[in-house]
């Protein structure tokens, strides 16, 4: 086996076993040996390897089990279709009809939904409204705090874990007085901007219409008005995971909608409420009512009064403090996308002060910054 002379003049890219090695690790010892014997070809090998990897791009990992499952589905469908001519029970008929005439069945589902809408809108809401998910019905039964914003300005809501929510106009958020130990669950109708307190062992969920957004600690915006056709989730910083709830609606679609999509900074997911299809965008398509605007909350020897002014404006809160006592205080810090409570914690740690929230006003107790 004289590989050196065999490959000497050949283009590595054109050698099938080289490709097999790069893509699947086939015959690794052989190629390691070859490189040892031909060290002058190392840069050729690396270049060829890199070319092959960039051609392939990212690998989408379908597990063996997923493949087997999908193929099972295919076999199942073909068997069921074969049985159409035979007599079957009522239950099977439904499945067969659904598979064979999937559009007809989908149409009747829509018809039912149409009726649902009609009933719902007659009794509750003059505007068109989409089918409420099971979760919406579920959360109505539990004893939850509810905050509604009907004003034109943003409304700050401080959650039990210290996270901040800025509710936009005509929006409503529900949450328990105290979060569960393993889950932080909130329910949103409308539009809001979230700054979630970091807690990796206690994930934060936002249920908005048909979608669930799961976060560990991050800042993002969700737009899910009843009258909208789409739900939008935009991530400002951190990472969230978005997936469709297992509602009755999504169960009857053949497509499993439980696939989760992960969004990172500057990504947006738009979910169509009709078919629960998710589209992902980055950067340029971002349109976002960011209450924080361009404010990065980066401060360098900034006087406290200025810091508080900025916070007041962005969070639409009022902060009461003795400007005389604090006149020498400056802050150098990057408060970033932390929730309001966390920002206040950080500021107060620096200036050796404490704060309280009384009647939605923030009161700072300080002794000043001596020099």
């Amino acid at each position: 086996m004289n590989k050196d002379s065999q490959f000497k003049n050949e283009n590595l890219l054109d050698i099938p076993s080289f490709r097999a090695w790069v893509y699947y690790g086939v015959n690794d010892p052989l190629w390691q040996e070859w490189i040892t014997q031909n060290p002058d070809r190392l840069s050729d090998l690396e270049t060829a390897r890199n070319i092959l990897l960039s051609i392939r791009g990212e690998v989408d990992n379908l597990s063996i089990n997923e493949v087997k499952e999908k193929v099972q589905d295919i076999l199942h469908s073909s068997q069921i279709e074969n049985k159409i001519k035979q007599s079957v029970t009522f239950k099977k008929d439904v499945n067969i009809l659904w598979l064979k005439h999937k559009w007809n069945f989908a149409a009747s589902i829509f018809l039912l939904i149409g009726l649902g809408w009609f009933m719902f809108s007659l009794t509750n809401n003059p505007n068109k409204s989409y089918l409420l998910s099971d979760f919406s019905k579920h959360q109505m039964q539990i004893n939850l705090e509810e905050v509604v914003n009907t004003s034109d300005e943003v409304k700050l809501v401080n959650l039990p874990d210290g996270s901040s929510v800025l509710l936009m106009k005509d929006s409503k958020i529900r949450f328990p007085k105290k979060f569960k130990i393993d889950k932080r669950e909130t329910y949103l109708l409308g539009e809001a901007f979230f700054q979630v307190q970091k807690n990796p062992v206690n994930p934060f969920y936002v249920y908005a219409g048909e979608i669930v957004t799961k976060v560990l600690g991050t800042s993002f915006g969700i737009k899910a008005y009843d009258h909208d056709e789409n739900i939008s989730v935009i991530v400002k910083s951190g990472k969230v995971s978005v997936y469709a709830q297992n509602t009755q609606l999504s169960q009857s679609y053949r497509a499993k909608t439980s696939q989760a999509i992960t969004l990172i900074q500057n990504q947006q997911a738009i979910i169509s409420r009709e078919d629960l299809k998710i589209k992902l965008y980055t950067d340029k398509r971002l349109e976002f009512n960011n209450p924080m605007g361009d404010q990065t909350f980066e401060f360098k020897r900034t006087p406290i009064s200025e810091v508080f002014d900025i916070i007041e404006k962005r969070y639409n809160v009022s902060i009461t403090y003795d400007s005389n006592i604090l006149k020498n205080c400056t802050i150098t810090a990057n408060l970033g996308d932390e929730p309001l409570m966390e920002k206040l914690n950080m500021i107060c740690t620096v200036i050796e002060a404490t704060y309280e929230v009384i009647n939605e006003k923030i009161i700072i107790n300080a002794n000043g910054c001596g020099n």
Partner: protein, 188 residues
């Protein structure tokens, strides 16, 4: 290694045509993953891809007696998936504000895969992405089918609906551009 795989598939194919369900299952299982991954280069909609694949294999199953002259299964499957998928993507795009051209094209680096790349490799992956983006999408697809899927020029031409010479041109200039790029960025 590839040769024996081809033989295996031919054997299975004959059994499948004879009506062997197990053979059909094996054929589907062997090809599913690669077809799926090819599909992900056109759309992030996994359910759409699975849907198309289901239709594809069901149709294969139904037509098995009339499918006489398939010299090679793989290009047939890839071509069928490509046509079906692109048709459905373009149809969907009719009702969205997104440019259908942009959606229904081959893209080895799609935004939603960015996060798979680790933090440390971000800068390099940006460079690679820029470079790959500068290649025409058909060129990227031809490269993928040639080097990753081991298809012949003729097979690629039939899948993509191009002339064989066009495929050859794409590949030649594509490899040159890639070589130029990677020779500037050694030892990563």
């Amino acid at each position: 290694m590839f040769k024996s795989k081809d033989l295996l598939i031919t054997d299975l194919w004959l059994q499948f045509k004879a009506g062997d369900k197990e053979a059909f299952k094996k054929i589907a299982e062997i090809n599913y993953k690669h077809l799926f991954q090819y599909g992900t280069k056109f759309t992030a909609d996994r359910e759409l891809i699975n849907d198309c694949l289901q239709d594809l294999f069901l149709e294969l199953c139904h037509k098995r007696s009339s499918l006489n002259e398939i010299s090679s299964l793989k290009p047939y499957l890839f071509r069928a998936l490509r046509n079906n998928l692109l048709r459905r993507i373009k149809r969907q795009a009719l009702f969205s504000t997104i440019d259908s051209e942009e959606i229904a094209d081959f893209n080895t680096f799609s935004p939603e895969t960015d996060f798979i790349i680790k933090e440390t490799d971000h800068r390099l992956s940006n460079k690679i992405q820029k470079m790959m983006d500068s290649l025409p999408k058909r060129q990227r697809e031809a490269l993928y089918l040639r080097y990753y899927e081991d298809l012949s020029y003729k097979e690629i031409a039939s899948i993509m609906g191009l002339k064989r010479q066009a495929v050859a041109n794409y590949l030649q200039s594509g490899i040159q551009k890639l070589r130029d790029f990677w020779q500037l960025h050694p030892s990563y």
